[in-house]
């Protein structure tokens, strides 16, 4: 039986805009030649992020699309951090190997990344570090030191930056661009009339400007990037620009200025948001009506709450649209409990966390389940178990999202594959939570959280706020859990005039009072569980709970979350090599799109269906088997905590489809 429900399901943009639906072919073929990839690395805290931001803004203002993803340790200052950036004619959604530039602030960057060089890769490094070897870099992990030394000694090069650069040049075809960083800074100090020690704070501008110069970015474009980043701090802008001019001249005298010049960008949107995954979820939540966000600090979720707090006053051109209360709690148990409390009062409420915090929230999640509370948990997966690798990524927490907690209660679990999906999913999560009066877990990961893209401002045309079934004129005899009209009870809010209600974690009667009568239990438990069946009836499987990109071909990749970007680009790469495949992108895991997934899988031989996941167990593949009875028997897995790169994925697919491999483990990335 379908019960009448108010409102409309948020269907707009359930189908993401990229690649355009049904035109995978059209999206493909642009190729990756109109792109520059660079890797910039240095110690954590050395201004790498600032450098990447300046470049991202500068390229975006020129009309290029930028993707950047950051790798870092759980450390404040000193450990090796690096950012992979792709500047392209179309938006990239995953990292790709073979950087055109490796720009190093320090010796460790060269020693860690020289093996990633490809023919033509320009390696920008500091000549002062030439003699530094792995043993003089205390922040390098001992396994990495041993590997570097072995690679270099086996090929007959000294174990130093100089040896690494020579190796990259001779063995891999790289082009060294040695710069004397101290001399450049001394020139700057001279020009600005400041002591050399003060010029040191501009250090990160050297690799930044070298990249800009190599890629042919005009100085005025770079200036625009600095002005944006250092708005109102003209002295900093001028200092940076002065140094950039010095670096540009040096690169020019090495004959490399514009050596990697990008073709002018195609026509495109006139403006972009430059956003991380964390930022874009915060934006979706604001548009979707979130007004209470609770959190306890945890990587990689906390930045979402920071973004919300920075915009807590919803002001647009002097017009106040209210405010979002962002509340830092004493722990994650309090975070979800307070979010639930806010939801009981009728606020759209959510909390954002990562695995360890989610574990603490589980008891309260069950409380929200039995009390039919619309609360949203945004879960950013990182490398587990336990503290695991807190700043690295994974897709290991799907089972936790789906099955954690004692007892049975309905929950909706959805996941996003890119920033655009994440924006609309944040809205959808809140709509579904209220429509089905149950917790919704929105699963993301560190890869998405910490990657930054150029996103055209999302349209909200057709997006609906669906508050679900609300009680019309509730009076003194209001029954919060009235099931006479179906499994979803008309909702009133705590504090609503003329009405009171009770909630309890115990099984309860229609008023919310404790009731262990077996017939009451039979009815109440069934009504709650049936809400999921209702969701399954209302939310389309094809296009909304799972999306098929491409069709037919020699193989089918099955993945979810941020696998999407790498999978689609790998399909394109493979197509260029004559291997044709499709990608089935799983979006909603509860209620699972069993019928549609079964149908898609049925058109491929079992040996040509490949699960791609950033985990050891490939949980999504197990869910496919559980729900459809179809076992996936080929796997491409990665659990190093580093993102899946396009090239390694394409090669792994080839080994399975053409080489007969059944399981490929990916390892690319330092």
């Amino acid at each position: 039986m379908r019960i009448p429900i108010w409102g409309v399901v948020c269907t707009r943009a359930s189908t993401p805009s990229w690649p355009p639906r049904g035109s995978l072919e059209a999206w493909m073929g642009l190729g990756v030649v109109r792109e520059v990839r660079f890797l910039v690395g240095g110690p954590q805290g050395s201004g790498l992020e600032t450098a990447a931001q300046v470049l991202t803004v500068a390229y975006a203002m020129e009309g290029y699309r930028v993707y950047s993803t950051r790798e870092y340790f759980s450390n404040i200052k000193g450990r090796h951090s690096y950012i992979n950036v792709r500047v392209s004619h179309r938006q990239a959604w995953a990292p790709r190997e073979e950087p055109h530039v490796i720009a190093a602030i320090d010796a460790e960057t060269v020693l860690t990344h020289f093996r990633e060089a490809a023919p033509g890769t320009v390696i920008v490094y500091d000549t002062a570090a030439s003699k530094v070897g792995p043993d003089r870099v205390p922040s390098m992990e001992r396994e990495e030191k041993a590997r570097v030394k072995e690679t270099l000694s086996r090929a007959g090069y000294p174990a130093s930056v100089e040896g690494a650069v020579r190796y990259a040049e001779a063995e891999l075809g790289a082009r060294p661009l040695p710069l004397d960083y101290q001399a450049l800074l001394r020139s700057l100090a001279g020009e600005l009339g400041i002591p050399a020690t003060r010029a040191r704070r501009f250090l990160n501008t050297i690799p930044l400007a070298a990249i800009a110069s190599l890629t042919g970015l005009e100085l005025d474009a770079l200036r625009a990037g600095f002005e944006r980043r250092f708005r109102g701090r003209q002295g900093v802008v001028e200092g940076n620009m002065k140094l950039a001019e010095i670096v540009y001249d040096t690169v020019a005298s090495a004959g490399l200025r514009g050596a990697l010049k990008l073709e002018p960008p195609p026509e495109g949107p006139s403006e972009y948001f430059i956003v991380s995954g964390n930022d874009v979820v915060a934006m979706g939540k604001v548009a979707g009506g979130l007004r209470l966000q609770t959190y306890y600090p945890i990587t990689p979720a906390a930045d979402e709450s920071f973004t919300l707090e920075a915009h807590e006053n919803l002001e647009a051109d002097g017009e106040s649209l209210g405010g979002v209360v962002v509340f830092q709690t004493e722990d994650e148990i309090a975070a979800i409990s307070a979010a639930i409390g806010g939801a009981l009062a009728g606020a759209r409420a959510a909390t954002a966390t990562s695995g360890p915090g989610f574990d603490l929230m589980v008891e309260a999640l069950g409380w929200a389940g039995i009390n039919e509370v619309p609360v949203v948990v945004t879960l950013y997966q990182r490398g587990g178990p336990s503290t695991g690798m807190p700043t690295r990524g994974s897709q290991q927490d799907l089972a936790a999202a789906l099955f954690s907690g004692h007892g049975e209660f309905p929950r909706i679990v959805l996941s996003s594959g890119d920033h655009e999906e994440a924006f609309y999913d944040a809205i959808k999560a809140m709509n579904w939570a209220e429509r089905y009066q149950t917790p919704v877990i929105h699963v993301l990961d560190k890869f998405l959280a910490n990657s930054i893209v150029t996103l055209p401002p999302p349209s909200l045309e057709g997006v609906k706020i669906d508050r679900g079934l609300l009680a019309a004129n509730p009076g003194p005899d209001y029954r919060r859990f009235d099931k006479s009209g179906g499994p979803i009870s008309p909702r009133a809010f705590v504090g609503q005039e003329g009405v009171v209600m009770w909630y309890t974690g115990d099984e309860h009667d229609e008023y919310g009072h404790i009731d262990e009568d077996p017939v009451n239990r039979l009815r109440m438990h069934e009504a709650r569980m049936r809400k999921l069946e209702l969701a399954a009836e209302e939310i389309p499987e094809e296009g909304e709970r799972a999306i098929l990109y491409g069709d037919g071909g020699d193989f089918l990749l099955v993945g979810w979350g941020s696998v999407k970007g790498a999978a689609l680009e790998a399909l394109e790469t493979l197509r260029g090599e004559g291997l044709r495949g499709a990608y089935l992108h799983l979006r909603v895991f509860e209620p699972f799109p069993s019928g549609y997934v079964s149908e898609v899988l049925s058109s491929y031989p079992p040996g040509r269906v490949i699960a791609v996941e950033a985990s050891y167990n490939a949980m999504a593949a197990r869910l496919v088997a559980q729900h459809t009875g179809r076992r996936i028997e080929r796997f491409i897995l990665k659990w190093t905590g580093r993102p899946i790169y396009v090239g390694e994925l394409a090669r792994a697919v080839t080994r399975i489809v053409e080489g007969g491999s059944v399981r490929e483990v990916l390892t690319y990335g330092a």
Binding site: E312, E330, A334, S337, G341, G342, A349, V494, W502
Partner: protein, 313 residues
């Protein structure tokens, strides 16, 4: 169920005959009635255990939460609807054992809610284990061996945590408790009342008899003035409250230990940052018009303009 202004429900009260909880329930119902609050203006939020059932016996919004978590549930409710009167009922194990972290955090915030601690020194519903307020070395009848852990001092902990209204009451003196509840509910900030109560089934040491001979009212003490009227008095009054909190034995004081009327409640701190907060709190803001988001695409761009870049060419 019909609308009742006496704050009673027709749910059968299933506490043991003679339980101190009856005194607390009666005092709370009378206090709410005398305060003239409407049932929908009040939310009673409880944890787990015998005290956790309190909301079901009161005709007002009732939220019976998880063990130890009444404070954070209540906090979210209050943040979303700062105009609600939120009263937290929890046991000593609930608020000072499993939920002790939340108890401390609430004091730091001075959120305008009231905490009632049902303090009977035992975990009743699980058959009499020692609670965090049971002194070391004593053996109540359900304990197989004397208690090894020292008691926490709820009054001292509350003062140290920053609660701005700290009182103790005795559950069997309903009128005194009722008056304290009224003061606590009207106080602007985090208020706590540590309510001593017998557990007639499991605590054979701290009985009605034991308390009757020892309890005295701080009001009767010449010169006792716990009220901070100016921030400069905080240190001295808090020190005196801590000293008084240590008195336990032949004489057990009840009444107000510390009452700071000068510290800004959390809601006002929030309102200084979000000017619309008190008039338009999270639960009362319109978020859609005709189903469309109030924050439409244009407004979203303006709110997040710091992220927006325009193409130069």
């Amino acid at each position: 169920m019909v609308l009742r202004m006496d704050y009673r429900t027709d749910v059968w009260v299933d506490w043991c005959p003679g339980c101190g909880d009856y005194g607390i329930l009666t005092a709370l119902q009378k206090a709410l009635a005398e305060l003239g609050l409407k049932p929908w203006e009040v939310a009673i939020v409880s944890g787990i255990g015998c005290s956790g059932k309190t909301p079901h016996f009161i005709y007002a919004n009732g939220v019976h939460t998880l063990h130890g978590r009444a404070i954070p549930f209540a906090t979210g409710l209050k943040l979303a609807r700062p105009d609600l009167k939120v009263i937290i009922d929890g046991g000593d194990g609930d608020l000072l054992g499993i939920g002790a972290g939340h108890f401390v955090a609430l004091g730091r915030r001075n959120l305008d809610v009231t905490v009632l601690i049902h303090d009977n020194q035992v975990y009743g519903l699980t058959k009499g284990q020692a609670s965090p307020t049971l002194p070391a070395g004593v053996k109540t009848k359900a304990l197989p061996k004397p208690n090894l852990q020292d008691a926490v001092n709820p009054i001292a902990l509350a003062v140290a945590s920053g609660y701005t209204f700290v009182a103790r009451a005795y559950a069997m003196d309903v009128n005194h408790l009722k008056e304290l509840i009224k003061l606590a509910v009207n106080h602007k900030g985090s208020a706590v009342i540590d309510i001593l109560q017998p557990c007639v089934t499991y605590n054979d040491l701290y009985t009605t008899e034991w308390y009757r001979r020892r309890v005295y009212k701080l009001d009767s003490e010449p010169g006792w003035d716990p009220v901070v009227r100016d921030p400069s008095e905080r240190e001295e009054k808090a020190s005196r409250a801590l000293e008084k909190a240590r008195e336990w034995g032949d004489r057990v004081p009840v009444g107000i230990f510390y009452w700071d009327q000068t510290r800004e409640p959390f809601e006002e701190r929030l309102a200084r940052r979000i000017p619309s907060y008190l008039d338009s709190p999270p639960a009362l803001q319109p978020i859609e018009r005709g189903g469309a988001p109030v924050v439409d695409a244009e407004r979203l761009k303006r709110i997040f303009s710091g992220y927006l870049v325009r193409r130069r060419r």
